[in-house]
Each structure stands twice: as C-alpha cells, then as structure tokens.
C-alpha cells in the first residue's frame, strides 16, 4: 500500500473520531463510531494483521453498535410515555 492511501485513511479516522465526539445528536454519534470501527478494521488489514481485522469488524461494528442503539432506545421510552399520557 502506498503511503498516500494510508495517510488518507488516517485523516478519515481522525475526522470520524472528531465527529463522534463533537456532534450533539446521539444517534449520529453512534453511527459515526460504527464507521470509525470499520475504518480501523481496514487499517488493521493494511498493517498485515488479518485476525485482528476480522475481530474488530465483527465485534465493534456489529455488537457494540447494536448495544448502543438498545441503550439509546431504553432511555428514550420515558419521553414517549409522557407525550402519550398528556
């Protein structure tokens, strides 16, 4: 891999990390974290680590994202209930 491709990938990683940290809406931040996980898996594959890339892609972009979404939906229910009972 050429160094310019790897530099582009690192810049994109830093950009998604900044977006996941700064953005106000939680759903957008969680999706940005999932994209960060996939880009990190690509970076591991470029660094000649196929085991680690496979584990990172399955666990961080499949499991952790779905756990975040379940937690987010559990903490939103209260507001729905208040709107329905009004």
């Amino acid at each position: 891999m050429t160094i310019s491709f790897y530099a582009f990938l690192c810049g994109f990683l830093a950009l998604t990390a900044v977006v996941a940290a700064e953005i106000e809406d939680i759903l957008s931040a969680v999706i940005s974290l999932s994209v960060f996980g996939i880009l990190l898996a690509i970076a591991f594959a470029i660094l000649q680590a196929p085991d680690v890339a496979l584990t990172q892609a399955v666990i961080n972009s499949g499991l952790v994202t779905s756990l975040f979404l379940v937690a987010y939906s559990q903490t939103e229910k209260q507001q729905f209930r208040r709107k329905d009972k009004k």
């Binding site: 160094i3 940290a21 974290l33 000649q48 903490t75």
Partner: protein, 111 residues
Amino acid sequence: MIKLSYATAIFIFCIGLYTIISKRNLFKTVIGLAIMESAVLLLIVTSGYIPGGVPPLLPMNGVAVNPLPQAFTLTAIVIGASDVALALALVIKLHRRYGTVDLDKIRGLRG
C-alpha cells in the same frame, strides 16, 4: 508510515480523553471510552509492524510481522466490548433512577 500511525493513535486518544472530560451527556462519556480503547489498539498493532512484512500465517514467503502484539490485541478488543456493555447497562440504570442522562442534572439532584 509507522510514525504517521503513532501520531494518529495519539491524536485519537486525546480526542477520547477530551470527550470524557468535557461532555455532559452520559452517552458521550461511553463513546469517549470506546474511542480511547480503539486508539490504544491501533498503537499496539502498529508497534509490531515491519515494513515489507507478510501476515503471520504459515506458508510464509518473506519476513513475518510480529505476532505477539496481535495476540493481545485480540484479547483487548473483546474485553473492551464487554466493558462498554457494562457501562451502557449502568447508564440505563441511572436513567431509570433519575429520569435523565444529563450529568449536571444528576449531580444537582444528589439522591
């Protein structure tokens, strides 16, 4: 290329630390924790890289990269995922007790 990787990992670690310190929403704290753990994993895997190396599988033609950092990165990924899951479970319990996930309001209530 190795120095670029190290610089990116340290920068992402600092962004994660900044998120944990200065954000009010508890979900942002957990996101910052996940970002910090991923930065450390990138740092560890880069430390075992050899330029021009091949993956450490056995029909090997060339110099293999160091397989030791990859072995403990595998363990660290799974431990990081279980620790994020436990943090999210604690956030759900806090929301059930206080009704909000805003840290300033939770501190103001004080039970």
